[in-house]
């Protein structure tokens, strides 16, 4: 990852040295200097937008595209956005790039599939879009043809997107709220715009759209079998009683005293958020803290605290006892007998919202496949949760997840053996 920065730095320093060596006029040198400033700002903004995560195959050439995006409608392959004139965006104009970001239309006018988060990027200012474009044009060209999408009928018909756009796309730059602070507005701009947080943290419906009335209330991420928790002030599942400092730590380092990021959010921190300035991260946290709670936890309905209505108390007791036994044998060494953990490296389980949410997908998957917090500048050598799929059966995992969801004052609902079995076959991702 750092290679990206190193390359950009070399590029910039070479540019500046060249200007000095040739003794070019002061105004030309100023122009070169300001264009390197724009490129550097564009690189930073491209980080904030996490362009790299989708437009680069891990370990392959930067912005060469061809990364598969598996959707419920088929597989999309991201396009090459390097400066290559034939296969990338080398021949594009800043205007065309802005139209793509702002309006979801490609250079030839065709409609773009909303896997590209133009519903969020539409809020990006023209100046920021131009800076990102200048940066992308400065990246070495990648001679690599785009790979055709593999979408099923009828989704392979782009004209259907007109209907989708009517329902779910609202074009328009971010409009600052004058009643809020500059910091709050900066945070809102990043969260709603480049950060495209709503892509996962607002529930997606069967048509791949999301409703503004449920913004940031959380949702199951399609095809990935991870649940993106609510970011509202919902105390059950949201950021309700998190401190701004804990939110900042989580976003920037990947770990905090309240919990750590794994799965898709680990990727976001690894590729994007760790590179943002402390001020920008703080602005995002300040904004997130003010998101109002609109409804209760909106993740799928719980099995009801009365526990599976048809389950007898003795069955429930048996599950809790078994869970407690498994916990003591496998989990307590790191997470502590009382679930307090050893934060920030061994996350607490007591009073941890992501464990108690109505959807038990995240805790079940964490037990099955484990996970490392992302390695970041602030946390370069993270600790990892071991996978238990190979040593614990479905009954034991259901029991231990039920235990951590209900022990120490946690009030999640029990999970069933079937819940675990359904997720066991989902590949780790």
């Amino acid at each position: 990852m750092s290679g990206v920065h190193v390359r950009a730095f070399h590029f910039i320093s070479r540019f500046v040295c060249l200007g000095a060596a040739l003794g070019v006029s002061a105004s030309a040198a100023y122009a070169a200097q300001s264009s390197t400033d724009v490129i550097a700002r564009g690189e930073y903004l491209a980080r904030a937008g996490d362009c790299i995560a989708c437009h680069t195959v891990p370990g392959d050439k930067l912005f060469g595209g061809r990364r598969p995006m598996v959707t419920p409608f088929g597989t999309l392959y991201t396009p090459n956005i390097s400066s290559d004139k034939e296969y990338g965006i080398g021949k594009w104009t800043a205007e065309q790039f802005y139209t793509t970001m702002h309006n979801g239309r490609s250079r030839d006018g065709s409609l773009i599939y909303p896997a590209m988060p133009f519903g969020s990027y539409t809020k990006v200012t023209r100046a920021d879009s131009d800076a990102i474009f200048a940066y992308l044009k400065s990246v070495p060209p990648v001679k690599q043809r785009n790979k055709p999408n593999e979408l099923r009928f009828p989704y392979n018909n782009r004209s259907l997107l007109l209907g989708w756009r009517t329902l779910y796309f609202h074009e328009g730059e971010f409009v600052p709220d004058k009643s809020q602070s500059t910091e709050w507005n900066r945070g809102a701009y990043l969260v709603q715009g480049l950060g495209h947080c709503a892509m996962c943290h607002t529930a997606i419906n069967a048509l791949g759209g999301s409703s503004e009335s449920q913004a940031f209330e959380g949702g199951l991420i399609p095809m990935q079998a991870w649940y993106a928790p609510s970011l509202t002030s919902n105390k059950e599942a949201g950021l309700g009683d998190w401190s701004t400092e804990d939110i900042e730590a989580l976003l920037r380092s990947g770990v905090s005293h309240r919990g750590a990021v794994y799965g898709p959010m680990a990727e976001v921190v690894f590729d994007s958020l760790q590179y943002l300035s402390a001020d920008d991260i703080r602005a995002m946290a300040v904004y997130l803290k003010t998101l109002p709670q609109r409804t209760a936890d909106t993740s799928p309905a719980p099995v009801a605290a009365g526990a599976g209505a048809n389950k007898s108390d003795s069955q429930t007791d048996h599950q809790y006892q078994l869970g407690s036994k498994v916990y003591d044998a496998q989990c307590a060494v790191c997470h502590g007998a009382m679930g307090r953990g050893k934060p920030p490296d061994f996350p607490p389980l007591a009073n941890n919202q992501s464990i108690q949410m109505s959807s038990a997908v995240n805790p079940i998957r964490m037990v099955l496949i484990g996970g490392y917090a992302p390695g970041t500048a602030l946390n370069p050598a993270p600790y990892g949760m071991p996978p238990f799929a190979q040593i614990l059966g479905d009954e034991e995992i259901a029991a231990v997840v039920t235990f951590i969801r209900t022990a120490w004052g946690n009030h999640g609902a029990p999970v069933t053996i079937k819940d675990v079995n359904d997720l066991r076959s989902v590949p780790a991702e």
């Binding site: 370990g59 307090r340 996970g371 490392y372 370069p380 050598a381 996978p387």
Partner: protein, 236 residues
């Protein structure tokens, strides 16, 4: 005055209780060791990377750090495919992967006693021949000609072959034959594996897994032997 004193004591009690609590919460830190950091690996590879009963999770301990690093990087970048590993490593920085590789390379836990292979003496004899002498008639070099006479590997990137279950060895050789496991070009293992028959793979895996622990588990020094093939992973 008395009243004030009472408040002062009460306030200081509350203050110290708060301090004790926050100290308790913050002093409980995870051990600052590599051993604690690689607990996620230990579940399948053993605490010191000695391997487990599972046939497909290899021993890591004592393999050269360069080899382990290459594998970690290949899993991270998806060039070597096993979803649970690809997932675990996806967001770890390369310098940290090097530290993980160094950790397991330095470990020297005892070798496991592996189940005796269920193959005939003739198969074992064929395996021994391929490992120690190769099969010049089929242009198959001996395993020992790169992995060392003691089969403990060579620095910096050729792995040891002992302490591994036969199923693991045969599945890896198979993966090379079918092109699902690759290494840096020129991919010498791909070339060798392509010349092996399925029976050869079974024989090599069975004989290797039947060998006792070596007297020294360390890989031999870099360049200690002259290799019969050029290998991209092992710089000359």
């Amino acid at each position: 005055m008395r009243r004030h004193l009472k408040w002062l004591i009460l306030a200081s009690l509350i203050f110290s209780a708060g301090r004790a609590f926050s100290q308790d919460a913050s002093s409980e830190r995870a051990p600052d060791t590599m051993q604690a950091r690689v607990m996620a690996c230990a579940a399948c590879h053993g605490q010191q990377g000695q391997g487990t009963d599972n046939d497909y999770f290899p021993r890591l301990a004592g393999k050269p750090a360069g080899y382990l690093y290459n594998q970690l990087l290949a899993f991270k970048q998806g060039r070597r495919v096993y979803p649970p590993m690809n997932y675990l490593l996806a967001y770890l920085p390369d310098p940290y992967l090097q530290r993980i590789a160094d950790y397991f390379a330095q470990e020297r836990p005892p070798f496991p006693s592996l189940p005796a292979p269920s193959v005939g003496a003739d198969v074992l004899a064929r395996g021994q021949m391929l490992v120690t002498s190769g099969d010049p008639g089929h242009a198959i070099p001996a395993c020992a000609s790169c992995h060392g006479a003691a089969l403990t590997g060579m620095e910096p990137a050729i792995p040891g072959l002992l302490g591994l279950h036969s199923q693991y060895i045969s599945s890896q050789l198979g993966a090379w034959r079918y092109g699902t496991r690759t290494a840096a070009a020129p991919d010498c293992m791909q070339q060798v594996a392509a010349r092996l028959t399925e029976d050869d793979v079974t024989a090599v895996a069975a004989w290797l897994s039947s060998q006792p622990a070596p007297s020294s588990a360390s890989p031999i020094q870099r360049g200690a032997i002259r290799m019969p093939l050029a290998c991209g992973s092992e710089p000359k």
